[in-house]
Symmetry: C2
DNA sequence: CAGGTCATATGATCCGGATCATAGAAGCCG
DNA sequence: CGGCTTCTATGATCCGGATCATATGACCTG
């Protein structure tokens, strides 16, 4: 996951800093290339017809994002810094050249994209589930590492990502606690309880 | 989009035929590699907790699918032939080798994956929309080529892909016709009408 | 052609989540 | 500390889509 980032180091443009809330780029703008997030957090989203925002992706340091922009002339969504962020750009031409010249880069880059495809499929699967509690449980199961989940941000913020209002999400979490499916760990932490008395539960995993 | 397919020709295993309804592979099975669909149609889906199926991807000849399986030891979803299909497999090792040795293949393969990422993001965006009519209109806009959409399959079948029941989809289409947003073109064809008297419309495009 | 199956509608009812409202708790800042 | 904003939480109401039911049309098949 970090091996390919080392490949990119020499190809990068100088680091750029963005304050929290600042836009890195906007949809429709000519695409510069692959983005390397060195610190902070960035959200990619698209404005919906009703004025709401569809969160398309979230990147946390250290990670890359806007991979798709490498093959596109313009960005297709907005990128905004959730927190103050430091970003380096790998120009499109450099990525294309690296794909053909740096051994192992193509495989690493493709693997990264394939991972995104699987994540997005898992997310689409969650979004097509009926029932707020099921969607919520599936989402937590997706993020869980060893039965533990730490959101690292207000519960409220994840509601739009699973197609719920924050009220519905609060209620769904309360219901899951009541049903003995999860335990709360502080404000943004959860523990998944394996004992499922009701069979109406499933972990979506990564689809691919 | 077909250039990379030519690269793959010599690497393929012999063609295999599948009858309509037959399973090409199942989730959990060890992954063989990239699949090349020469004719017919294949659906990738995952079973949901309630017994329903989440359609994860659809491939129509000529196309590749299961790209992600190249980087994974096991399949993460089921593949079933919608119609009788002819498929050739490119073994995982061959794909990895091609990524490093065949000039242009890495870029083509990555571009294909990047396109899937954009499609999936657009789909996630649609699924997070409120309102059956909006979702339906956005879906049609996504498929439209020059204002025309030809589903090529029963309307009923697309309902699960946008998180609706077929009844809700029929009603949504009827409402869109009533509102003058679309025209029907035969049984599975539609024409998008640009004149939007109400501003509650948007075309999602491809997010990325 | 007759009979069966599936797609296309549309009506009636019910329910889950959106929406609106309220309120306490937690963090933040002058 | 006191005042402000944001998050968390829950109650009340409403509405859109799920669900159930029904009917016609299209298509396939013997």
């Amino acid at each position: 996951m970090t091996a390919d980032l080392a490949f990119l180091e020499p190809l990068c443009l100088p680091p750029r800093r963005f304050a929290a809330g600042a836009a890195l780029f906007r949809a429709g703008t000519p695409s510069a290339g692959l983005h390397l997030l060195l610190s902070g957090r960035v959200a990619l989203h698209r404005p919906l017809a009703d004025g709401a925002l569809a969160v398309v992706h979230r990147a946390a340091a250290v990670d890359t994002f806007a991979e798709a922009a490498v093959f596109s002339d313009a960005y297709h969504c907005d990128a905004v810094a959730d927190r103050a962020a430091v970003v380096r750009i790998v120009p499109r031409a450099a990525v294309h050249k690296a794909l053909q010249t740096i051994p192992g880069f193509a495989a690493a880059f493709s693997a990264r994209l394939a991972g995104q495809v699987q994540d997005l499929r898992a997310r689409a699967e969650i979004l097509s589930m009926r029932g707020a509690a099921e969607r919520t449980a599936a989402f937590l199961a997706l993020l869980a590492r060893g039965g533990e989940v730490e959101l690292g941000r207000p519960v409220k913020h994840v509601a739009p990502e699973i197609g719920l209002t924050h009220e519905a999400l609060y209620r769904a979490l309360a219901e899951l606690v009541r049903r003995g499916r999860i335990e709360r760990r502080g404000r943004t932490g959860f523990r998944l309880l394996p004992g499922d008395p009701d069979p109406a539960a499933a972990s979506p995993g990564r689809a691919g």
